[in-house]
């Protein structure tokens, strides 16, 4: 294949590096420095896609982020697939594989185009709201086919082989856009000493200067770009980020920049010196000041069949010729409302292709560029416009006529010009997107015929983004913005910048032209596209306004205008202008348009960064974690902690099931001795003369008399009276306590204590410090616990000297330890706390000595069974934020007569909280002991009632108890405390109904003899 449209000379491409790529399965060649779009155009490819609603052939329209059509599927392998890549922003690389996202069997001959041709008329905006309603049962079938037809590219079915990362950046001045304004701003701010980040979305920095015909200091403008970039690159207070799009502007000058690190090299990131590289990097920038030098997008004119391939923006024509040495056709007609677009015709003529005519909607254009065109002998047709393009798969001609813009009418005969390319320009729209991301509405400037950014604190627009277009003015505006930004960011003395001299040019004013009138009415004329990606036409907008959609937001939503992946960069203003004309209002009266992040779409991967897979969320480990891993533990996620769930053993070469392991572990604790890693419980050191008083305020029970050496269980409520957390607190000294919390509640309880201390009771002298990670905790429990522990400790374990709910210091395995005699199993139990760095030694020593007792490690599941047999709650499992201590029947832990009205107390007397028939905590004994009730099962009193049933409570915990040789459960039941001995029913999904008896939640050892031994 030859690059038919490539010029022999010129452009910024590297002709020494030929690259081959495929498009829709065919191989083509381009050069290093091409974008996929310029390479496609160089190879004479007209049709790059099919439109999604009407399946019309579509070609490349633009050269940058505003491109609506050239959206392709990229990727040479399944895992490397990237949907919806904008060809105009994709750098070409060797082996690039792209295909169109729509069109079957191919884009040239799309079978679906009959829909467009035949059915197009039946698809006005919102047609789907008006049909597919009958019969109602058919909607899901209709929908299946609608979905099939919709969508652009496809998601890969394999996992992304690439990685992404984030870089948190801070700067005094962030300059977005490295065109003339941005370069001047960055240089000025940097010279003044500010920390500057300059980013630009293109493969190369320089913006409009890269394809400019203009001279600076009598040299081609590109030279100034090179020298300025060299200067900036040499300054260590400047960070230059090419291929980097500022995609989101957030509050307080937080801007996200998406840097394409390797996307221009391959579809999967190549390795560099054996290291993985990231595919993309997201810079999370906190900027003191932002200079918005994003330039302006040219606006196309809206005329009939303006979507046929060969219709391009005038600026894109110049860009392809001058930057890539690609002329996208042979015979050009330019339709314009302004001087600036004449460049396209001049560039076309310089490339020695034929300019058939320039059609200018103004009656008497006479600016310098107009003169230049005339001087070259180009025919200029004034007061006229291209009203319709001829052709279906490529432009074959332009229909030109005199137009009266005031009356919106064609006023002269139509002249048919033969051409293959129509360049179009309706003026420029400043790129205001970023400035409106934080909700600040852009304002309409009638003199500019465009919106400019609204007032955003800490942000300055510069150059084209606020409608300053003449090069000399743009440079000066950029420099001034850079200086102001530096100053605002706190730089005391700002250095003046000497700017290069730009040519001064005479320009005649542009006229306001959006939709071009046609001989036929808009509804009867051939389709005039406003938003090509979403197939929104001028007629569609007209129908919408006729149907009462008058706000631009309604029009957009009803027609889908601006909802494409280009976010209406080309279409929105034209759409508003058409709606305004229909409604007989001005554009600002129809509404302004707010853009949302992203400026251009970015991959989820880039936003996720490294927070993926194993780094998605921290895994918290205890000091004994490695032992658990080596001993085959299955783990349970509890908050961020990895806790051993159970320790399956191999029995006869087969790994135990969880039930088997739990049964074995439970019996070991009940009959011998077991050990649990309890390090994850929250631990808070509390010191100060008012520590005791503080505890009395945050716990429901009394703390005034707890003596040093003693431990007490406490309940903590929120101010609404509902249980928040529970745990034991030990008195270490008169002014010193150690509080424990649930594993999941540790951080919340710590914050809760600080909240009350800092906001309500600052006068209380007390300090809280988290020691959760400092202490490793191992629970040795079971009838043999004392025997085992006595082998490795110097503590006197005599039952009268070291009583239940006591704690003592001593040594365990030669390591200083604090041992608490508390029990969460109902058995004799010691909780050994040692400094975590020694924990593994102590743990292993216990196992060495424990062999003869068959010391059995157990996990959370067995812990749950054992505590449930004893009727001990787990906050968060047996309670749910709607359970009070009274509901739990824990009246013994409620200090009704404490002097201070502790947190949550008042709420207990509210009418609903004081109700006697609230759901209360009880035990359930299934009538059939083989039945293990389902956790979460709902409880009814009348099993024969019809659905909806009257539910009276639910099962909160349920297990098989090897000790009881029966299933048993904990539950909450309405009025349960008064219903002991009554039967309740639990209807199951399979139609069975289980029967159970309400019993005390304490299933073993109600007198507590075992834990007191």
């Amino acid at each position: 294949m030859t690059q038919t449209n490539r010029l022999q000379q010129g452009g910024r491409i590297d002709r020494s590096r030929t690259l081959s790529f495929t498009f829709n399965g065919k191989t083509y060649r381009g050069y290093d420095g091409d974008t996929l779009a310029s390479a496609l155009l160089a190879n004479g490819i007209d049709i790059v896609n099919r439109s999604f609603k009407y399946s019309r052939p579509r070609g490349i329209v633009a050269a940058g982020a505003e491109e609506p059509n050239a959206v392709v599927q990229l990727g040479s392998t399944e895992a490397a697939q990237v949907p919806n890549v904008r060809a105009t922003q994709q750098g070409l690389y060797e082996g690039l594989a792209a295909c169109s996202t729509n069109g079957w069997p191919n884009v040239q001959r799309d079978m679906m185009s009959w829909v467009g041709k035949l059915g197009g008329g039946f698809m006005p905006p919102g047609f789907y709201y008006k049909t597919f309603m009958a019969p109602a049962s058919m909607w899901m079938t209709y929908e299946k086919y609608i979905r099939k037809g919709a969508g652009l590219g496809r998601a890969p079915s394999e996992n992304d082989p690439d990685i992404y990362d984030h870089l948190n950046q801070h700067c005094d001045v962030l300059v977005v856009g490295a065109g003339p304004a941005g370069l001047a701003a960055a240089l000025c701010a940097a010279n003044s000493g500010a920390r500057v980040i300059l980013c630009d979305e293109q493969e190369e920095m320089g913006g409009s200067l890269l394809d400019s015909r203009e001279m600076l200091d009598n040299a081609p403008a590109g030279q100034w770009v090179t020298s300025t970039l060299n200067l900036l690159a040499g300054m260590d207070n400047v960070t230059l980020l090419p291929r980097t799009t500022a995609n989101g502007y957030h509050d307080h000058n937080f801007v996200t920049l998406h840097e394409r690190r390797t996307e221009h090299l391959s579809d999967t990131a190549p390795k560099l010196r054996n290291h993985r590289q990231v595919r993309a990097r997201l810079h999370r920038v906190r900027a003191g000041q932002v200079v918005l030098a994003t330039g302006a997008h040219e606006r196309p004119l809206v005329y009939a069949n303006n979507d046929v391939p060969g219709n391009l923006l005038a600026s894109a024509v110049s860009n392809y010729i001058r930057r890539y040495a690609v002329v996208p056709g042979n015979k050009l007609v330019l339709s314009t409302s302004n001087d600036h677009a004449y460049r396209a015709a001049l560039d076309w003529a310089d490339a020695e292709r034929e300019v058939v005519a320039i059609v200018d909607a103004r009656d008497k254009p006479d600016g310098d560029l107009v003169q230049q065109a005339r001087a070259k002998g180009i025919r200029v047709i004034t007061g006229s416009a291209v009203i319709e393009a001829n052709g279906t798969h490529r432009v074959t001609g332009a229909r030109v006529a005199k137009v009266d813009l005031e009356r919106f009418a064609v006023t002269g005969p139509v002249e048919e010009l033969v051409c293959d390319t129509i360049a179009t320009s309706g003026g420029y729209s400043p790129v205001v997107h970023l400035a409106s991301h934080i909700g600040v509405r852009p304002t309409w400037r009638e003199d500019l015929l465009g919106f400019v950014p609204g007032d955003v604190k800490g942000m300055r627009p510069a150059g084209g983004s606020q409608g300053v277009y003449a090069l000399g003015d743009v440079l000066a505006d950029g420099a001034q913005s850079g200086a102001e930004a530096a100053k605002a960011s706190g730089i005391a003395s700002v250095v003046e910048l000497s700017l290069p001299q730009a040519e001064v040019r005479q320009e005649s004013p542009a006229c306001a032209l959006y939709q071009v009138p046609h001989e036929k009415t808009t509804l009867r004329a051939p389709k005039q596209f406003v938003d090509q990606q979403n197939d929104v036409t001028a007629a569609g907008i007209e129908v919408a306004t006729r149907e009462g959609f008058e706000s631009i937001e309604h029009v957009k939503r009803y027609t889908a205008l601006g909802f494409g992946t280009d976010q209406g960069k080309l279409g929105n203003i034209n759409g508003m202008a058409i709606a305004a004309r229909m409604l007989n209002r001005s554009i600002p009266e129809v509404g302004t348009t707010i853009f949302r992040p992203n400026y251009t779409p970015i991959t989820f991967g880039a936003i996720v960064g490294r927070h993926a897979r194993e780094l998605f969320d921290p895994e918290r480990y205890t000091a004994m974690h490695q032992w658990h891993v080596e001993n085959g533990a299955e783990f349970e996620d509890v908050g961020q902690w990895k806790r051993p769930w159970y320790f399956p053993r191999k029995v006869n070469g087969k790994l135990e099931t969880m039930d088997e392991a739990v049964s074995r572990e439970s019996l070991a604790v009940r009959n011998g001795v077991g050990i649990l890693d309890a390090s994850t419980l929250g631990k808070i050191d509390i010191q100060g003369p008012d520590a005791r008083e503080f505890l009395g305020r945050v716990y429901t029970n009394k703390w005034a008399k707890l003596a040093p050496g003693r431990v007490r269980y406490g309940l903590m409520c929120k101010e609404d009276g509902m249980l928040m957390d529970d745990g034991t607190t030990s008195c270490l000294g008169d002014n010193h306590f150690l509080m424990t919390t649930t594993t999941g509640g540790a951080a919340a309880v710590m914050e809760w204590l600080e909240l009350w201390h800092q906001t309500e009771w600052p006068e209380l002298q007390v300090y809280f410090t988290s020691v959760t990670d400092h202490w490793a905790t191992m629970t040795v429990t079971g009838p043999d616990a004392r025997k085992l522990l006595s082998e490795v400790t110097d503590i006197d374990l005599d039952k009268d000297r070291f009583k239940f709910m006591d704690w003592l210091n001593g040594k365990v395995a030669d390591v200083p330890a604090r041992v608490f005699r508390i029990s969460f199993t109902g058995e004799l139990a010691y909780e050994i706390n040692v400094q975590a760095n020694y924990a593994m030694h102590v743990w292993k020593t216990l196992f060495e000595h424990g062999k003869k007792y068959d010391l059995t490690p157990y996990g959370t599941e067995t812990m749950h069974v054992l505590r449930a047999e004893k009727g001990l709650i787990i906050a968060g499992q047996d309670t749910d934020g709607s359970v009070t201590p009274e509901d739990l029947g824990m009246f013994w832990a409620i200090g009704y007569d404490k002097p201070y009205s502790w947190l949550g107390k008042r709420a207990l007397t509210r009418p609903d909280t004081a109700r006697k028939d609230r759901k209360q905590f009880v035990g359930l004994k299934p009538t059939d002991p083989a039945v293990v009730l389902e956790e979460g099962a709902q409880i009814v009193f009348d099993k024969d009632q019809a659905i909806p049933m009257s539910m009276q409570g639910h099962v909160t915990s349920s297990y098989y108890s090897p000790t009881l040789a029966s299933g048993f459960a904990l539950a909450v039941v309405k009025g349960g405390l008064e219903r002991m001995g009554q039967k309740v029913y639990l209807p199951m999904p399979d139609g069975q109904t289980h029967e159970a008896e309400i019993v005390s939640p304490v299933f073993i050892d109600p007198k507590g003899e075992r834990q007191h031994v």
């Binding site: 990231v278 490294r610 974690h625 050191d685 010191q687 002014n735 988290s770 200083p816 020694y838 030694h841």
Partner: protein, 220 residues
Amino acid sequence: MSDTSCASVATFDTCPDVSIPMESPLSVAVNQVSMSTPAPAVSQESQVQFEEKPFLGHLILRGSAMVLGEAVSEVLGVSLPSQPLGLVFDASGQRSVQWLSPDEWLVIVPSGEEFELENRLREVLGAAHFAIVNVSGGQTLIELSGDKARELLMKSVTYDVHPSNFPVGKAVSVAFAKASAILRRPSETRYELVLRRSFADYCYRWLVDAGEDYGLGVTR
């Protein structure tokens, strides 16, 4: 061991009198070469070096600067950084005091010194309202050095680590990836991270992953 029955505050010496093998939060990750992903070694290409300084003595001091200032000078020979985010070292560079909040400081001393230090501080402070808590088992200190250490930190913390904002002698508690960490600037060439024990492995894995670009090497 102190007598817990009469003291209003119980102190506790966690260090054994005999030699006991210790395991830091990162012992396994850093030292076990047999693991499926062994720690990357330091090489000539390493632009970041990672080293754990395990088993140091870490104490949290709570109290007002007025109360603690004098005692800290007397016992440690350094003045308590009363300005926010201050970090000071003693002459040997072995002992540091760091501002954590208006009534909270972190003291880091060589391994085994923490209990004696606590006792001496308590003695000097007497009956004043303060708290001292030993957290040596709960955190570990790691050191990052090398040309790209700062850039690696930029991948990991949202805090501005540019020297103009984060000079030597500053220490901050910050968000680190999805955990938190204390980040310190003890010298021009080094950064220190104080990590909570249970999060240390996650932070380590994060740094190794994010440091791959820079050939991060782990010193054993």
